[in-house]
């Protein structure tokens, strides 16, 4: 596992793979796997792993391990602790504390940042404060492209369920839902959903999500070229209209109202996203917007990354399931890209204003990488046709789309 941490660091530093997340994740993965340090374990786990026989017997007398075959074995105790009721867990914590054991550093970070669900939401607020909805407001129909690209999410869920039903993998429905979100190409959303629906897969899902976001410039262009004609790639779009400040202020509130009416399960994610965007656009809270985009999101990123890294533990990560997650994730990306391009082609034929299908792939989100890819592939076809601003519309629409899809998953599978 330590080697996987170093590989992530190498990809992040040398190849620029989403370094803001993958450097902390990779480093956290190394720290979590230092033998004997126990940084990713709770006090009780540390006590069980490195306590002597007498201490283990004490734990066995407190925890309900009667059902286990070897009641005093380490694995049995850990399992019993994790599934015990809160009062028994408290008793075990007393034991560990009295024997001088403490929660590991990364365990504490994980508890505060991810188990509480807070860190991904705070990052989403910062992302909201960095997002410019101008291009989307100038051309709201691009929201459909953001919807289309989420097709990859649901196709992947179906795929994961199928793989499990034919016995190749062993994913529950909530695992499948969490894996599908990788196709949303949105790191905080994927981490938030995984922390709710499949905490034991969180490490693999986060690594897959950020790696594929970094691979967008490799994954998308062949698909985009295969599905479009040269003439379509040369389509010049109408210059975007000016968007007034009032529209920018009202838009996050409109989105919030729709969430409240239609999809309360998406309220934490989209609520914080809209809040961050409102702080930015309202013009009277610049202090707060600046901090949300800088100190606060950076601090949260550091601890979120280390916490995710703490989940890269050998017995859950080095597994055929991780390979399945990686394979399904890339399929989700490809399907999302293709759906976006195809729907854009359809909208171009049906609608009155021309739409270059290349901007459809930006609907997977991966802001702003996917929009830059649309621009680059467009410039290949016509060196004077700048699509960047046009692609920003579907790109931020993709963020909304993934968050909506996340809400659907949570309300269908969770609770």
């Amino acid at each position: 596992m330590i080697i996987i941490g170093f590989i992530l660091l190498f990809l992040a530093i040398r190849n620029g793979f989403e370094p803001l997340l993958l450097v902390p994740i990779g480093f956290g993965g190394i720290l979590a796997n230092i033998p004997g340090a126990g940084l990713a374990y709770s006090a009780v786990e540390n006590a069980i792993y490195s306590g002597d026989a007498a201490l283990l017997r004490e734990f066995a007398s407190v925890l309900p391990v009667a059902l286990s075959a070897e009641p005093d074995s380490v694995k049995g105790l850990i399992g019993a602790y994790k599934s015990a009721a809160l009062p028994l867990q408290i008793a075990a914590e007393t034991l560990a504390e009295q024997a001088g054991f403490r929660d590991g550093m990364l365990y504490t970070f994980y508890k505060v940042a991810i188990a509480s669900g807070i860190a991904p939401l705070v990052i989403f607020m910062g992302v909201g404060a960095m997002t410019d909805f101008g291009p989307l407001l100038a051309n709201p129909k691009t929201l459909f492209l953001g919807a289309a690209a989420q097709f990859g999410i649901f196709a992947t869920v179906l795929g994961a369920v199928l793989l499990s039903s034919i016995g190749l993998m062993d994913f529950s429905l909530s695992d499948a839902a969490a894996i599908g979100i990788i196709g949303g190409a949105d790191g905080p959303t994927a981490i938030y959903v995984a922390s709710l629906l499949a905490p034991e897969l969180l490490g693999a899902i986060a690594v897959a999500a950020y790696s594929y976001m970094a691979l967008v410039p490799l994954i998308q262009p062949p698909i985009m070229r295969a599905l479009t004609t040269d003439a379509e790639r040369k389509i010049v779009m109408v210059q975007l209209r000016r968007v007034s400040q009032r529209e920018r202020i009202v838009f996050p509130l409109i989105l919030l109202i729709l969430v409240a009416l239609l999809l309360p399960a998406a309220a934490p994610l989209l609520g914080m996203f809209c809040f961050g965007n409102l702080l930015k656009e309202c013009g009277v809270t610049e202090r707060l917007s600046f901090t949300a985009q800088n100190a606060l999101i950076n601090i949260t990123t550091i601890f979120l990354g280390l916490s995710v890294g703490s989940q890269l533990v050998a017995d859950t990560f080095l597994d055929v399931e991780t390979l399945g997650i990686l394979a399904l994730g890339i399929v989700a990306f490809a399907i999302g890209t293709a759906s976006g391009v195809l729907i854009a082609k359809m909208m171009n034929r049906l609608g009155s204003t021309p739409i270059n299908p290349l901007i459809g792939s930006a609907g997977v989100s991966a802001v702003p990488m996917a929009a830059r890819v649309s621009n680059r592939v467009g410039l290949e076809a016509d060196p004077h046709n700048f699509l960047l601003m046009h692609a920003m519309g579907p790109n931020v629409a993709g963020v909304i789309g993934s968050a909506v899809a996340a809400g659907v998953m949570i309300s269908l599978v969770g609770g």
Binding site: P140, A147, L158, I254, I257, F386, L388, M389, V408, L412
Partner: protein
């Protein structure tokens, strides 16, 4: 799965309609004098006011940040 994808599409369709209605209402009844900069193609995904800083100024600022960092621990 169909249900899920359907919800996403319906939600975003509702958002498209609401957004277009909102823009129409604001454009017709609450129009502001245009102080907001144009969202031109070829620009960047951020507020535009930073577009025309010359590199010298930027390097001065960056340097100042570095300088700021020096102050003790």
């Amino acid at each position: 799965m169909l249900y899920g994808m359907g919800t996403v599409v319906l939600f975003l369709a509702a958002l498209v309609i609401a957004t277009m209605a909102m823009s129409a209402v604001i454009g017709n009844y609450f129009a502001q004098p245009q102080r907001v900069e144009p969202v031109a193609s070829g620009g960047q995904a951020s507020t535009g006011s930073a577009r025309h800083i010359d590199p010298t100024t930027l390097s001065v600022i960056t340097a100042a940040i570095h300088q700021h960092r020096k102050r003790g621990r």
